[in-house]
Amino acid sequence: MVETTLLVPGRFDRLETITDFVARAARLAGLNESSVYHCELAADEAYSNIIMHAYGGENRGDIQLTCQCEPGILTIIFEDHGRPFDSGSIKAPDLSGPLEELAEGGLGVHLMRQLMDEVKFDPGRDQNRVTLVKRDHSRVP
């Protein structure tokens, strides 16, 4: 397994740095380009949520990103020291009702769940952790 770590201040102008880092790790794990894009998007959503909800805004704390690359598997881990924020309790938007009642919140978490094979939220008193896993399903076991 190859593990790489990046520490960035929680700011939206660092998003491309984050997604480029994840894309490189996804390719190192041998994922196809569609899966690489899924990993980039999911990482974007997780990172953005940490800024907005754990830190309550930009420039309020650092975010550590760790990518663990194994053949056909990428594990993405975000850690922050913001307030405990349990994204796992957020429901997907209800698309069955009238448009006017559609809540736009929850789209990011919903997308993460759609894009990745595993999404785990570990809120904590001193540190929050979000773990995302993507597997290459085209590989013969």
Binding site: E104, G108, L115
Partner: protein, 110 residues
């Protein structure tokens, strides 16, 4: 991200190019809001050259769609790139937006 606006008689076409994420989505939302404030509630979004769109971009589009429909307008999507189509589908929003293969078809639909 770049945004260009072309006003026709009945419709405004907003072409978005590049990357729409939490850093750039506020600019997109502001441009869409400006159209609505100018009483231009018939909007075509040309997304043919959007290489990347996160939920931030989707939220901007949904909130604009709601606001446009309140005043009997609409936001219709033209030529969404494969990546945009995919993220709209994964988010469950492809049933909420009317989508057209070309800019011309979307304009003519109004």
């Amino acid at each position: 991200m770049e945004i260009s606006v072309q006003d026709y008689k009945r419709v405004s076409v907003i072409k978005v190019t590049g990357r729409v994420d939490s850093a750039t989505a506020p600019d997109l939302e502001a441009a869409l809001k400006k159209q609505l404030e100018g009483d231009k509630a018939h909007i075509v979004m040309d997304l043919s050259e959007v290489e990347y769109m996160s939920s931030a971009g989707l939220r901007a589009m949904v909130s604009t769609l709601k606001a446009a429909r309140r005043v009997s307008g609409d936001v219709r999507i033209a030529a969404a790139s494969p990546r945009v189509e995919e993220v709209l589908h994964l988010a469950g929003l492809s049933s909420i937006f009317t989508m057209y293969g070309t800019r011309e078809e979307a304009i003519a639909s109004f």
